[in-house]
Structures are given as structure tokens and as C-alpha cells.
């Protein structure tokens, strides 16, 4: 059974304090690893797709990286507007439908 585990469950940072969120996956033949941002009361907003180990993608203060077992979402010099829940999901060779993690709730204090 495919599994996606995110850590930590919650993270509090001061503005400007860089950190990383972790997404560990156990799937049979990774096809795609996805990161989403979800604000309270809203649907998830797509951020990145990673397909193979060693791949990296960046968007503003966010950088996503992928290894054979996990993905990291690095947040550089975060701002309060980066506060949100970040979801990770993965698809495997057996299905087009992704398995979602439970998310990391990030709060950035000014």
C-alpha cells in the first residue's frame, strides 16, 4: 500500500528563519511527487511536480527537492504570508490517483 508521511505536523518560524518540510513516501514505482499549498477554508493550490530523484524546482522563496525516498520543501527567509498548510502527494505506477500526506501546518510570525 502506498504511503506518504509528512513531518513535522506543525512548524512555527520567525520571519526570515529558513527551514525545511519533509515528505517521506513509500510507493511502488514513483511516477510523480506533488506539493500543494492550502490556505484555511480554501482548496489546495498546486506548487510543484517532481518526477525523478535529483530534480529540483523553485518558486519565489520555495524550493522542492526529491530523493529516492523523500522530498523536501525548503522555505528561505519566510514571510507571514507563507503561513499555510503544505500538502505532499505521490502517484505510483499502479494508479493515476495520488496518495496525499496529512500536511504540515506552517505559521510564520512577523
Amino acid at each position: 500500500e502506498d504511503q506518504v508521511t509528512q513531518s513535522p505536523e506543525a512548524l512555527r518560524l520567525q520571519e526570515g528563519e529558513s527551514s525545511s518540510l519533509n515528505c517521506s513516501y513509500t510507493v511502488s514505482g514513483l511516477r510523480g511527487l506533488f506539493w500543494y499549498r492550502q490556505d484555511p477554508g480554501k482548496g489546495p493550490e498546486f506548487l510543484f511536480t517532481l518526477y525523478s530523484a535529483g530534480e529540483e524546482k523553485e518558486k519565489e522563496r520555495l524550493k522542492a527537492t526529491l530523493t529516492k525516498k523523500e522530498s523536501f520543501l525548503h522555505i528561505t527567509a519566510p514571510k507571514p504570508e507563507d503561513s499555510a498548510t503544505y500538502l505532499c502527494a505521490a502517484t505510483s505506477g499502479g494508479s493515476y490517483i495520488p496518495t496525499f500526506g496529512r500536511g504540515t501546518s506552517l505559521i510564520v510570525h512577523p
Partner: protein, 115 residues
């Protein structure tokens, strides 16, 4: 990317009633899905909405409780039937390019409260 809208954005309903949620996609996508997200939890897939045929339900979800329609490639509805307080949740519609391992795009969600 696809732009997805949902109606209603929120509703408060009485126990035993039913609510139909509409999902509209701005392009002819292909695969559409319905998810449930309970407070503090991640996304749980309810079913895949198939155009022109019956939806494919995940374990624990049945058609009598969550009937789904998809009359064309851009529109789908989810009905939550005979509601109980346990059905209080956010319901999300999503789309994905067919037969691909690409990302899904989500609608804004419908927040349902059942009293």
C-alpha cells in the same frame, strides 16, 4: 492549468436532508474527482466522476450516499444524501489530464455543516 469553480461555497443543512454540490471546469479535462477533507485531516478520495458512465467509488463510499453525475467533460455534481453531523466536512472537486501522472487542480471547496 485548469480553473475550477464550485457551488455553493458553504452551506448549513439539517439532518436527513440532501445537498448537491456543483463543479465546473473551464476546459475539457478529462478526469474529475471528488474528495472530502475533515477538519485537521488530509484529503480522502470519494470517487472518480466518469463522463457518461457510473462513478468509480473508493472503499467506504457508496453511490446511495454520494450519488455523482458527470454529463459532460466540464461539469460534475456530488450529492450528499440523508445527511448526518458526521458528513460535516469540506468537499473538494479536482481535475487531472487523462491517463497521466500529472498534477491535479482543485476547486475552492464547499464547506458543509450538518446540524
Amino acid at each position: 492549468s485548469a480553473v475550477i469553480s464550485q457551488k455553493p461555497s458553504r452551506d448549513i443543512c439539517q439532518r436527513g436532508t440532501s445537498l448537491t454540490i456543483q463543479c465546473q471546469v473551464d476546459s475539457q479535462v478529462t478526469m474529475m474527482f471528488w474528495y472530502r477533507q475533515q477538519p485537521g485531516q488530509s484529503l480522502t478520495l470519494i470517487a472518480t466522476a466518469n463522463q457518461g458512465s457510473e462513478a468509480t467509488y473508493e472503499s467506504g463510499f457508496v453511490i446511495d450516499k454520494f450519488p455523482i453525475s458527470r454529463p459532460n467533460l466540464t461539469f460534475s455534481t456530488l450529492t450528499v444524501s440523508n445527511m448526518s453531523p458526521e458528513d460535516s466536512s469540506i468537499y473538494l472537486c479536482s481535475s487531472q489530464r487523462e491517463s497521466s501522472y500529472n498534477e491535479q487542480f482543485f476547486g475552492p471547496g464547499t464547506r458543509l455543516t450538518v446540524l
